[in-house]
C-alpha cells in the first residue's frame, strides 16, 4: 500500500494545475446548425453512437412531453421537465457500462429512462406511489434525489467502495447549477479527489435554480472551474451538443476507470420550460431569452449533421419517432392505472423487525380504518373489515 500512495502523489505532482482548468469556451464539436467545428469532424464519436444518441434524444423529448401532459391530467403530482436538456440526459446514460452506476436528480428522469429503467417506474416518485421509485440495483440507477446535492456524497461512497473491492465500477453523479452551492457538493468533490474515487461529476448548468439565475448562484468563471480547488480536473462542454458530451464524458469515464480519479464536467444548457408545473417562469425571465436558446436545440443540431452525412434518412427518423411514440403510450397506459395503496405498506419495508412503536401505530391505523365501514344500522350488512381483508 505504501508504494501505491507514493505513486499516486507522483501522478498528482506531474499534473500541471493548468491542465485541470476547463477551456475558456465550452467544448463544441457540432455548431448549432450541425456543422463540425473542426473541419473534418475527426474528433466526433463513432456514427453508430451518434445515431443511437439521436434516437435516445427523440425518445427523451417525447417522454418529457408525455409527462408534462400527464401532470396536467392530474396523473403526476409534479413534473420537472428536462425539455431542451435531452443531450445531457442521453449522454449521461450512454457513456456508462452496465456495471456502472448513475446517480440522478429529480430532473433526470429521462436519463434514468435512457439507461433502461421502466418509465412508469421512473415516474413513481412524481406520481406519488408509497415506495417512490424503482429497484435501484436492476439498472444500477440510484433513486432520483430531490434534496440538492445529497446524491453526490452517496455517489462518491459507491465509487470508493467499488474501488476498495477492486471492481471496475465508475459512477456518474448528476447535479444542477444550484447544487454546486451546497456543502455536499464540496464534500463530495474533496473526498473523491483525495481518495481518487472513480466518479464523474456531471453538472447540468441550465442557468436557473428555480428562479435564481446563475449570476446570483456563483461568481466563479465557470462551474467547471470549481474542480481545480479540490484537485479535480474540470471540463466545460456545450450541453446541447450530444457529440461533444459523448466525447468528453466518455473520456472522463475512461479516465476514472483507469484509476486516474474523478472529473468535473459542466454541460452548459438551458431549462426551456418552467421549473415545474407549479412555477411561472415568465415572472423571472424573458421570452426573448428562451427563444435564443431554442435556436440551440440539441435534437435539431444532431439531426442536421447526420442527414448531411447520409447517416439519417426519413425512414430512420420515422422509426425513431415510432419508438418514441410507443414509449409515450407505455408511459401513459402505465401511469393511468390507479394503484390503491394499502396503508399497511407504510409499516412493512423499513425495518426487518418492526419496532414496538411501529407495531402500535399499525394497530392504530387498522383500528381507525375498521371504523370507516358503514355501521350495521345503516346497511344491515356485515361489511368486511377493510384493513383485515388485506
Amino acid at each position: 500500500m505504501e508504494s501505491e500512495w507514493k505513486f499516486d502523489q507522483y501522478i498528482y505532482m506531474v499534473i500541471n494545475e493548468d491542465l485541470m482548468l476547463p477551456t475558456r469556451e465550452p467544448v463544441m464539436l457540432l455548431d448549432p446548425e450541425g456543422r463540425p467545428t473542426a473541419g473534418d469532424g475527426a474528433a466526433l464519436p463513432a456514427p453508430d453512437d451518434l445515431v443511437r444518441g439521436l434516437a435516445g434524444m427523440v425518445a427523451a423529448r417525447r417522454f418529457n412531453e408525455q409527462s408534462s401532459v400527464l401532470v396536467r391530467q392530474g396523473r403526476l403530482a409534479v413534473y420537472p421537465s428536462s425539455y431542451g436538456q435531452e443531450a445531457c440526459q442521453v449522454a449521461a446514460a450512454q457513456v456508462l457500462d452496465d456495471g456502472d452506476w448513475l446517480f440522478p436528480t429529480y430532473r433526470d428522469t429521462a436519463a434514468a429512462v435512457a439507461r433502461g429503467v421502466d418509465p412508469v417506474e421512473v415516474l413513481g416518485l412524481l406520481k406519488g406511489d408509497w415506495h417512490s421509485g424503482y429497484d435501484p440495483y436492476e439498472r444500477r440507477v440510484a433513486p432520483l434525489a430531490t434534496p440538492l446535492a445529497t446524491q453526490l456524497p452517496h455517489a462518491v461512497g459507491v465509487a470508493h467502495a467499488g474501488r476498495l473491492r477492486g471492481e471496475p465500477t465508475v459512477v456518474l453523479a448528476m447535479c444542477g447549477d444550484g447544487a454546486t452551492s451546497e456543502g455536499d457538493f464540496h464534500e463530495a468533490l474533496n473526498f473523491a479527489a483525495v481518495f481518487r474515487a472513480p466518479v464523474v461529476f456531471f453538472v447540468q448548468n441550465n442557468q436557473y435554480a428555480i428562479s435564481v439565475p446563475l449570476s446570483r448562484q456563483s461568481a466563479a468563471p465557470s462551474l467547471a472551474h470549481k474542480g481545480v480547488g479540490y484537485g479535480v480536473p474540470g471540463e466545460l462542454v456545450d450541453g446541447n451538443d450530444l457529440a461533444a458530451l459523448l466525447a468528453v464524458l466518455s473520456a472522463a469515464v475512461g479516465r476514472a476507470r483507469s484509476g486516474a480519479g474523478p472529473q468535473l464536467v459542466e454541460g452548459r444548457t438551458y431549462r426551456m420550460q418552467a421549473h415545474t408545473n407549479a412555477d411561472d417562469a415568465t415572472r423571472y425571465r424573458t421570452d426573448a431569452e428562451v427563444a435564443a436558446w431554442a435556436d440551440r436545440d440539441p435534437l435539431r443540431r444532431l439531426d442536421a449533421y447526420l442527414r448531411t452525412q447520409g447517416l439519417l434518412d426519413d425512414a430512420r427518423a420515422a422509426a425513431h419517432a415510432d419508438a418514441a411514440e410507443r414509449l409515450a403510450r407505455h408511459t401513459r397506459d402505465g401511469i393511468n392505472v390507479d394503484v390503491v395503496p394499502d396503508p399497511a405498506d407504510l409499516f412493512a419495508h423499513v425495518y426487518s423487525r418492526p419496532t414496538p412503536q411501529l407495531v402500535e401505530q399499525l394497530a392504530q391505523v387498522r383500528d381507525e380504518l375498521s371504523r370507516d365501514e358503514p355501521s350495521p344500522d345503516a346497511t344491515g350488512a356485515d361489511a368486511p373489515n377493510r384493513a383485515e381483508a388485506r
Partner: protein, 484 residues
C-alpha cells in the same frame, strides 16, 4: 376518472401542487368535436397561471361541464367524451369511488398546503392571506367555518340526545391527565383549554368544518382519542335532531336570492382592495380645476397628421414632476419596520378597465420620459391592458397610480389606494361649467381632482401641496412647461 362503458368523464385535476379550483377561460373544443388522446381541450386559469388542459381520452366530445368564466372545483367533471367508433384502446376506465366525506376531507386537508414538494416550493390554499400557522396558544378547535345550522347554539352538537351525557367527563378520564374534581370538565360545559386528543389532524378539520366542538364529542378511540367515526357520528346525530340542516359544503341558498361566485381575477382584486382599506389610514383631499388653458394648449398642438399628446399625457407629466418634489408619495409603507420605502424611479400606474376587471399597470420609468413619450407609452399600455396583455411586471411594479375615472362620466371618487402604494390621484370628467374669471361668469373647462393618500407617510399639507402643484400646472401650463 369516471366513466360508463362508452363515455368517459375527465375530472378537473390539481394543476399545480395544491390548487383547489380553476376558472374556465376558453373551451378549445365544442360538443360534437372529435378529439385525440392528449389534445388540449380547454384553457383554464388557476391561482398560478393560465394552463391548457389536455384530455386523456379520445372520442367525440359529449358534455362540457362548465361555461366559460365559471369556476370548477378540483375533482369535479370537466368534460365527457364518448367513444368514437374504433377508438384507440385506452386504459380501463377507472371507477371513481363515491365521494366519501372522510376522503373529501382528507383531500381538502391536503390542499390546504402541499408542503415542500420540491426545494423552494410549498403552496398555500390562501395566497396572500397572511400567516398560515395559528399563533401559539390559540384554540385549535375554535369553529372557523360556517357552523352547521343548529337552532340552539348553547347546546353543543354532540350533546344531542343520543350522546352520553358526560361526554367530556369520559374524555377527561380517558385522557388520564385531568385533575380530579375538575368541575368544568365534569359539568359538561367543555371549557378545558387543553387540546382534545385526536387520531389525526383530519379529525379536527372535520369537526371544524361541521362547526362541531371536539370537546363535546364522545371519544371511542384508545386512550380517549376522538376518531373520525366519532365525529361523523356526532354530525349524523346533529343532523337527525335539528330542523333543516344543510351540509356546510352545500350552498346556503335563501329564497329570493341567487349567488354569483367570484372569478379568480375578482377574488385576487378583492384581497388587494380589502387589504388596502384594512391597513391604510387614508385621507382624501379634492379641488376643482380650471383646465381650459391646458385644453387650449392641447388643441393648439393638434395637427391633421398628428393629434399630439392627449390631456392625460400632459397631466401624467405634471404628476411625475410633482412627485419629484414630493418623493414620499412615490413610495410604499413598510409597516413591519415603520419605514417609508421611497422609490428612486416613478413607475406610473394607470387604472384601466380590462376585459376581466380593473387593473393598474404601470409605465415603467415614467420619470425618464417626455410628454410625447409618455403619451405613446400610455396609449400602448392601456391598449394592451384592456386586452389582458400587460406583463406581470407592469401589473405589479407601479409606485403611484393615476385614476382617470372621468372617462366613466363621473366627477369624483374616493378611490381605494392600490396597496402597497401610498397615494392615488384621480380626475373626473372635463365639462363646461360656469366659472368666475376676473369678476365675470364665463364657461370654462372644469374637472375635479381627488387625491387619496396614506396619512402615515405625510400630513395633509404635503398632500395638498402635491395636488396644488399639479392643479396649478393644469390651470397655468406654460410656466409649468418651462420648469419641466
Amino acid at each position: 376518472m369516471r366513466a360508463t362503458a362508452t363515455e368517459q368523464t375527465f375530472l378537473l385535476p390539481d394543476l399545480g401542487e395544491g390548487l383547489t379550483e380553476a376558472e374556465v377561460v376558453q373551451w378549445l373544443v365544442a360538443a360534437g368535436d372529435v378529439v385525440a388522446v392528449d389534445q388540449p381541450v380547454v384553457e383554464v386559469e388557476t391561482a398560478k397561471s393560465v394552463v391548457e388542459v389536455p384530455c386523456p381520452y379520445a372520442g367525440r366530445v359529449g358534455v362540457l361541464h362548465a361555461a366559460e368564466g365559471e369556476c370548477v372545483e378540483v375533482g369535479r367533471p370537466l368534460i365527457t367524451i364518448a367513444a368514437e367508433g374504433e377508438a384507440t384502446p385506452e386504459p380501463e376506465p377507472q371507477a371513481t369511488p363515491e365521494p366519501d366525506p372522510a376522503a373529501e376531507a382528507y383531500r381538502t386537508e391536503e390542499q390546504a398546503g402541499s408542503g415542500n414538494v420540491l426545494v423552494g416550493y410549498g403552496t398555500s390554499a390562501h395566497p396572500g392571506a397572511g400567516r398560515r400557522r395559528r399563533p401559539r396558544g390559540a384554540r385549535p378547535t375554535a369553529p372557523a367555518a360556517p357552523a352547521l345550522a343548529v337552532p340552539a347554539p348553547a347546546a353543543p352538537l354532540a350533546a344531542a340526545p343520543a350522546a352520553p351525557p358526560s361526554a367530556t367527563a369520559v374524555l377527561a378520564a380517558g385522557d388520564g391527565r385531568a385533575a380530579p374534581g375538575n368541575g368544568r370538565a365534569a359539568s359538561g360545559e367543555a371549557h378545558d383549554s387543553r387540546p382534545v386528543r385526536v387520531i389525526s389532524p383530519i379529525v379536527r378539520r372535520l369537526a371544524r368544518e361541521a362547526g362541531l366542538d371536539l370537546r363535546a364529542v364522545p371519544p371511542t378511540g384508545a386512550g380517549g382519542t376522538v376518531t373520525r367515526s366519532d365525529v361523523r357520528a356526532a354530525i349524523e346525530r346533529a343532523r337527525a335532531t335539528s330542523a333543516p340542516v344543510g351540509l356546510p359544503t352545500e350552498t346556503p341558498e335563501t329564497p329570493g336570492e341567487h349567488r354569483i361566485p367570484l372569478g379568480g381575477f375578482r377574488r385576487a382584486a378583492s384581497r388587494v382592495l380589502s387589504r388596502s382599506r384594512a391597513e391604510i389610514p387614508e385621507a382624501t383631499v379634492w379641488v376643482d380645476v380650471d383646465a381650459t388653458a391646458l385644453w387650449d394648449l392641447r388643441e393648439a398642438t393638434r395637427r391633421p397628421d398628428d393629434p399630439g399628446p392627449g390631456l392625460l399625457a400632459h397631466i401624467a407629466r405634471f404628476v411625475v414632476s410633482a412627485l419629484a418634489d414630493h418623493p414620499v408619495l412615490n413610495a410604499r409603507f413598510d409597516a413591519e419596520r415603520d419605514e417609508i420605502v421611497v422609490s428612486d424611479t416613478v413607475n406610473l400606474g394607470i387604472a384601466v378597465q380590462g376585459e376581466n376587471g380593473l387593473v393598474a399597470p404601470a409605465v415603467l420609468g415614467a420619470d425618464a420620459l417626455t410628454t410625447r413619450e409618455l403619451d405613446v407609452a400610455l396609449r400602448d399600455l392601456t391598449t394592451r391592458a384592456r386586452a389582458g396583455r400587460a406583463t406581470p411586471e407592469e401589473l405589479t411594479a407601479g409606485t403611484f397610480t393615476l385614476n382617470n375615472y372621468g372617462s366613466l362620466g363621473v366627477d369624483g371618487s374616493a378611490a381605494i389606494i392600490n396597496h402597497p402604494q401610498v397615494a392615488i390621484l384621480g380626475f373626473g370628467r372635463v365639462i363646461d361649467r360656469p366659472w368666475v374669471v376676473d369678476g365675470q361668469i364665463v364657461p370654462r373647462k372644469i374637472t375635479q381632482m381627488s387625491f387619496v393618500f396614506d396619512h402615515r407617510v405625510c400630513d395633509g399639507a404635503t398632500a395638498a401641496g402635491f395636488m396644488r402643484q399639479v392643479a396649478d400646472a393644469i390651470e397655468n401650463p406654460l410656466p409649468a412647461l418651462v420648469r419641466l
